[in-house]
Amino acid sequence: MIDRRRMVVARIGELAIVRFTDKKIVDSANIEEMGDEMFSLVDKEHIKHVLLNFHGVEFLSSAALNKLILMDKKIKAVGGILRICELTEDILQVFIITRLNRVFDIRKTEAEGLKAFGASS
């Protein structure tokens, strides 16, 4: 068992579904931990595809966006795909303002995210 503090991970083969434990993801000590836990899925646990479920996350700052972009690069480097789902309206607007909705594949629900991967929960 891997000890995670910033997220809960469910694995389906090479796909991981990630839920975050913090309501706010900002540039604090936690965000380094969040990044490290997320990156280790690819670097150490040989996960290829990831669905990030932001259910319960009410706020994130640009520091969190930077971590997501780095995660996306890591996943692309192993030939995988990163998808994002369950964004609040406000957070979705952040992706639109920054035009990061063009970088990330954003889905409304976890079910839709899984479907895009050809999986189901």
């Binding site: 900002v26 540039d27 604090s28 000590a29 706020f59 700052s61 640009s62 520091a63 966006l65 930077n66 972009i69 780095l70 996306d72 690069k73 309206e89 406000d90 607007q93 952040v94 303002i97 920054t98 035009r99 990061l100 063009r102 970088v103």
Partner: protein, 141 residues
């Protein structure tokens, strides 16, 4: 008197740490919430203060124990005023590359100032760039 319309004020110096920053951000957000701010406007205030204060602490004061960040907040039901001044060397806020350009989309930095500008009613950096004044005005109607 104009001054009398300001419901909640805070003028203080905090140490150059992210923890101190987030503590004072919580105070501000509670005051804003008490003054009736909610929804997207509240989210925008949260984003602007987070980005500006983290910038002051990290880029400005470089988390030096010898430097402080000066804060001035004024919150009413109609307006949130935030002034943040660090003791760093400043920067040129008008010369930043636009993180929305296709070529910059996957850059892992450089979105904070742009988000502040997009989300506030009014944003003003001083000459040197070590002080920013941000104002959020409630939308009419």
């Amino acid at each position: 008197m104009v001054e009398a319309t300001w419901g909640w004020n805070l003028h203080k110096e905090i140490p150059s740490s992210k923890d101190a920053a987030h503590e004072v951000i919580e105070h501000l957000l509670r005051a804003a919430s008490d003054a009736g701010w909610e929804g997207r406007d509240f989210f925008h205030i949260q984003m602007a203060i987070e980005e500006a204060l983290v910038n002051a602490v990290t880029h400005g004061n470089k988390e030096s124990p010898d430097k402080v960040v000066e804060l001035e907040f004024k919150v009413t039901a109609e307006t949130v005023f935030m002034r943040i001044k660090d003791q760093g060397a400043g920067f040129c806020p008008d010369k930043l590359p636009d993180p929305r350009d296709d070529d910059h989309l996957e850059c892992t930095n450089g979105r904070g100032v742009m988000l502040i500008r997009e989300m506030m009613t009014q944003v003003q950096y001083n000459d040197i760039g070590n002080e920013v004044i941000m104002v959020k005005q409630r939308k009419k109607g």
